[in-house]
């Protein structure tokens, strides 16, 4: 218990305390810096920081598209694996799950090579059939990052949903089938509602993950200017803390992000709860 207290509550408390302070300097800034109580100034600054807000909005757009797409694939895969007519289940499952076993950094490095003109066999192949793509272009790069995330996490989410499916009593489905229900009906009317809690769980985790996106855009940033240094909220917090040397403001940004995450996750859970009823 103590350890949870130490490594969860204290940092959070310290972050809040930090976020209420500001560093003071004077003149040319050579002398020693002091600190003062700044109240909510840092928060006001965060809410007016266009790039930070843009980063949060970007992640919302990202989440609204990427999370459903990923979970849709995860669900379809899980249902197929659970059904009687998929072949080579073990092999396909292993393949789908493999990307999760790769460290996020490795996945990002790997895909960034596949996005790089002149190196990527994908771009070369597309060029051969006269399709020009720029995976790192200003409007495309976000979805290139989304692809890395989808690639990495679909298998993981599939596993959670699949496990839930496996745990269901299968004789119900058999009974339903004998009663003449189609495979489609069994899936939508019985299986999906029963594993809805698992799906919601994966959705909440994915939303949180989205808001914390860091390593993928950090790697991609080394290849293109279109990923700015405040591209995602987490990048903003890190770069403000160390790049711009402003831990107080960084703390405010981080706490703001935490509040956002709470609102979104709880909002989502409330919403789905209501629907369930």
């Amino acid at each position: 218990m103590v350890i949870f207290l130490v490594f969860q509550l204290i940092p959070v408390g310290y972050a809040i305390w930090q976020s209420l302070q500001a560093t003071t300097r004077s003149g040319l800034g050579i002398g020693a810096a002091g600190s003062r109580f700044a109240g909510l100034e840092n928060y006001a600054q965060a809410l007016q920081d266009q790039e930070f807000i843009a980063g949060v909005l970007r992640m919302l757009v990202f989440g609204v598209v990427q999370v459903p797409v990923m979970l849709f694939f995860a669900l379809v895969l899980a249902l197929l694996f659970d059904s009687s007519f998929a072949m080579f289940k073990k092999f396909f499952q292993f393949a789908a799950f493999l990307p999760y076993a790769l460290p996020g950094i490795v996945a990002s490095i790997l895909w960034s090579f596949l996005y790089l003109p002149g190196v990527s066999p994908i771009i070369a192949a597309l060029q051969a059939i006269n399709v020009k793509v720029d995976f790192l272009g200003p409007d495309v790069v976000l979805w290139s990052i989304a692809n890395i995330v989808t690639w990495q996490w679909t298998g993981y989410n599939m596993l959670i949903i699949f496990s839930a499916l496996q745990a269901l009593p299968h004789d119900i489905f058999e009974a339903a089938r004998i009663d003449g229900a189609s495979g489609w009906a069994v899936n939508t009317k019985i299986k999906i509602p029963l594993v809805l809690p698992a799906i919601i769980l994966t959705a909440v985790f994915s939303i949180i993950g989205t808001l914390q996106l860091f390593s993928e855009p950090t790697i991609v940033r080394t290849l293109t200017n279109n990923v700015t240094f405040k591209y995602t909220p987490n990048m903003a917090a890190y770069n403000i803390a160390f790049g711009a040397n402003n831990p107080n403001y960084a703390a405010a940004v981080a706490v703001t992000l935490a509040i956002f995450t709470f609102i979104l996750s709880f909002g989502f859970m409330k919403l789905t709860n209501r629907k369930e009823k």
């Binding site: 218990m1 103590v2 350890i3 560093t23 003071t24 300097r25 004077s26 003149g27 040319l28 800034g29 050579i30 020693a32 810096a33 600054q45 790039e51 790089l116 003109p117 002149g118 190196v119 790192l136 200003p138 080394t222 290849l223 293109t224 200017n225 279109n226 700015t228 240094f229 405040k230 770069n239 160390f242 790049g243 711009a244 040397n245 831990p247």
Partner: protein, 488 residues
Amino acid sequence: MSEESKKRLNRRKFITLTGGALAAAGLLAACGDNTVAPASATTAAGAGATTTAAGAGATTAAAGGTATTAAATGATTAAGAATAAGTNTSGVTIEYWSWVLGSKESVDLWNRTHTNFKVNYTQTTSGTPHYNKVKAAVAAGSGGPDLAQIEFQLVTSLVVGGALQPITQEAAPYKAKFIDWTIQQVTLGNDIYAIPQDIGPMGLFYRKDIFDQYSLAVPKTWEEYKAAAEKLHAADPTKYIASFSPAQPGQFAGFAWSNKAKWFGTKGDAWQVTINSAETKKVADYWQDLITRKLVKVEADFNPAWYKDLLDGNIATWVGAVWGAGTLATNAAGASGKWAVAYLPQWTAGSKVSGNWGGSTVAVIKGSKHVKEAVEFGAWLNSDPGPVGEMIKGNNIYPATKDGGSLPVLKQPNPYFSGQVINDIFTESAGNVDPSWTWGPTIDQVYADIGDQFTASTNGSGTLSSALDQAQAKTVADLKSKGLQVTQ
């Protein structure tokens, strides 16, 4: 004792024991830790002995550059004996962080030839990762280097950020060796904060083969450069005169510098900010025109795709700095014999103004207990022909010392450039660098802002010029919010 209370007691015991397990875990890990940080232990132990040994070291070095050099060369021959003795008379080991290739060899050279203290070298990743690590170590108050590579533009920012130590006294004996404007750039108020290592006088790298193929004349002015851009792109739409990387404010600052612009200045105890001055805007408008007319390729530099363009000749010139010769030779090795160097194009025909892009220093990091040793090593590293030669070999640096330009190694024909003595051009350029350029106190922020705003404008919202206005406003606001004074 009732069954119920026994249970409760046991539960408490269980929870306590959980805590015990944690403590044990901590101990276990702590033991592991001891084995990994012997360096800091030595440092702490050696701290007492420091002053005397360092004093001796400093005097020897102060006796004169040539003497040190001679001693160094002499000692190199006797290196075997020195290493065998394993001498480190003061017991001091300083930690040095850099990304410059050739640094490791230089450190090895020091450790072979000097016995008063040792240097431990750590290779870092250049740019943001390096500085973030340094700042993190300063914030942590431990684990940082004594001496670290710091680029010129960041020295002031790091001083204001509280990451560097003043070394005015320790550096006094060496000061005169370095080019005056480089010393100026590492001086803030009355104190010196770093030892200059190399400078980046600018020049024009161009593809001789492509210039010949399309019979382009090597441009002497920016006017001619634009004409060449038009001619080349018209002849072959897949080819561009250059790439423009919106997130490379260092290069853009160099452009502005060579148009005698200034971004920062000090007046008494206050900062002046002039990022959107007429001189800088002239440069911005020029490149904006090339971008709008698609005569330059907008792309990030220093990544494999850009290197491929340099190699394949999709971009025919690169307005770079002296160290760029190394960049080309390493990353576009296949284009050997195709590149050449010319003097930086001018705004006014006949003039010879130049700017500086890059170049760096070594600075003593806050928290170091071995300032004297760090400065002694830093001064040796940046001025002695031994280590300077290693870094020229490794990274094609151009030394910041007054007599550095006349090193024989810099006067040799460069095989990559078909035997051209490229440093003849860069030495001339170095002599014409406008000495009055000043770096501001929040350069990370400025660079990030300019980079992001330029990226936005090359993606179609606004112009480079309007981006400069925004960067100006943001920088002034940022300085004020930090409590710094800003004046007109």
